[in-house]
Symmetry: C2
Subunit: 338 residues, 2 copies
């Protein structure tokens, strides 16, 4: 049996291995500082498809097949796919699951989806409900811009606090062999609203959710923040991380330089990403492409991965609502590997 610890956290009975991962990224992401970490470089915004949405879906399919192939298993041997994305009715995730003949568990956690899917899959695997799963999520700059903001053709200028939606899909095959990394505890976050209503300032909206979930997890685990080699946040961007550090200090934590944000890593300054990267794909490709290999070699012995999601829609924004946010956390440990 898993053990409920604290109000929101779960200590798994046995660590669940993150056996393999696979990533697929766009041009700008591949030209950025982490470009070499991504498995498939998408050559342009459409990748031979006739719409951006179909390109995004193709990337989901590519990663789903990639995860299985790298793990040396057939898609048929996988019990479940847990997935979601940013598009209305999560069409990228669900349409790409047509290739898969097993159980599909559709999620909506906005940019927290990578952590949400891994947290749920690890609980289900630990329980014996499924034996393995592929968890994946992603985003596409062009589909997100036209859905959430303006059609690209308008060339709308971005505000200083805005972030850039990552074109990328990342996935992990969990429940297979021990290849060096495993999930041993998870925290499902709660929905937080601290009054931010500017849809171009997601970092500020999501920072309180990240702080809340990190606090809940660290307390439940009876640990200090510095016990983690890295606390990897999803896509807070420069401003969001600054706010997160302030909030954690207010909670009484000794905030050092182990807080690393995927949104701050993915682009270089000269790529003009404003506050940094965002979108489901941001933490998905940075966790799976950049951090997991480092955990598997033991460079990081224990990390807390905290993906953050802003739960807004264009309708809620137009109706004058704030932006509630959520963050889910998974604790990943180095297992020594095979």
């Amino acid at each position: 049996m898993a053990r409920r610890i604290g109000k929101q956290s779960i200590l798994l009975n046995n660590p669940v291995f993150i056996s393999n991962s696979f990533t697929c990224a766009g041009i700008k992401e591949c030209n950025g500082p982490l470009g070499k970490c991504f498995d498939v470089h998408v050559p342009d915004d459409k990748w031979g498809e006739d719409s951006f949405e179909k390109c995004e879906r193709k990337m989901f399919g590519c990663v789903m097949h990639g995860c299985a192939k790298c793990a040396g298993v057939k898609l048929d041997d996988i019990d479940a796919v847990l997935s979601g994305d940013l598009l209305n009715q999560t069409i990228s995730a669900s349409f790409s699951a047509l290739d898969f003949g097993g159980s599909y568990i559709g999620l909506y956690g906005a940019c927290s989806t990578m952590a949400e899917s891994l947290a749920l899959a690890s609980c289900l695997i630990d329980a014996g409900a499924i034996s393995n799963a592929i968890c994946l999520t992603g985003s596409h700059f062009c589909t997100a811009e036209r859905q959430y903001r303006m059609p690209l053709d308008m060339g709308t200028q971005k505000t200083p606090t805005s972030q850039m939606t990552v074109t990328g899909v990342g996935g992990a095959y969990v429940g297979g062999n021990d290849t060096g990394a495993a999930i041993n505890a998870v925290t499902f976050g709660r929905v937080i609203d601290m009054g931010i209503s500017d849809a171009n300032n997601m970092g500020a909206a999501m920072a309180p959710a990240a702080a809340d979930t990190i606090n809940a997890h660290v307390l439940a685990r009876n640990r200090k923040l510095e016990d983690y080699d890295a606390v990897i946040t999803g896509d807070l961007g420069k401003l969001g991380v600054e706010l997160l550090c302030k909030l954690l200090s207010q909670y009484g934590y000794n905030v050092k330089n182990n807080i690393i944000d995927c949104g701050c890593l993915i682009y270089s300054e000269d790529q003009d990403p404003h506050m940094g990267g965002s979108g489901c794909g941001c933490s998905a490709i940075v966790l799976n492409g950049f951090f997991l290999p480092k955990i598997k070699t033991g460079e990081y012995k224990m990390v807390l991965f905290v993906a953050t999601g802003a739960l807004l829609s264009t309708t809620s924004s137009m109706q004058g609502e704030n932006i509630p946010s959520i963050a889910h956390a998974i604790e990943i440990i180095y297992t020594g590997g095979c």
Copy 2:
């Protein structure tokens, strides 16, 4: 440990009690044949709010609080809310979770959400990952019409195969006391596309997913279809049920009159619902308001609840895509109760 049976099904270690349920329904639903079964009757389309979306959200809040109150527990004593809805970025589910201080697990399964949330929650409770949860979902005719089809003000005529989105939210408190009903096995469905692309013929799009999941569940349980007092489908409507029965006959099942569709029950003919009710709220209020009380008194000893979801968006339809669908199933048994 739960036990994986068949390709997609899970037999729980211990049955998970559906301790209480609560429903909130709109005018047309309350005037229909099941009107008396619903706990709160919403007096009009806005319920004192300034938009349909805010009304839908208020209904979610009403049901979340109602579930806790009926169970005699505080919201604070509940570990998790599992929820989702039809609106872009599932704003009704996530905004209403602001009232709740525990873990929020956001789902997207379209109209399959009631079964998806109950299936996931029962697995997590059985595993000890959480001790209890509220599962809820719903829809609102006016928000769905303007998002998926046309603004109501246009008075667009409905096609003969169309269904009517239910205004209603239903929820269940799971993991509490034995009050007569429990989940003992679940099946997570797979995404199916049989070539239907008419967004006004959801029944036809979803019937193959329902047939596939029912077949998977019944095979995994090594049962016959007639072993169930009722196989309760989500919202296939008249045409969808007809297709489902044909498909099940083709699979070799002896199809009798134990297949009951929530979409066919909720309105009377003189309410002119065309093929019947639809939307997340349809199966949510019919299961929680109408069927659960019958299970708890032993009128039904064992049912299979199969909520079906059409995974389309306006974007996918406009881009000429078919409508992939999914169905999740939960097997609910009469426990004798307290």
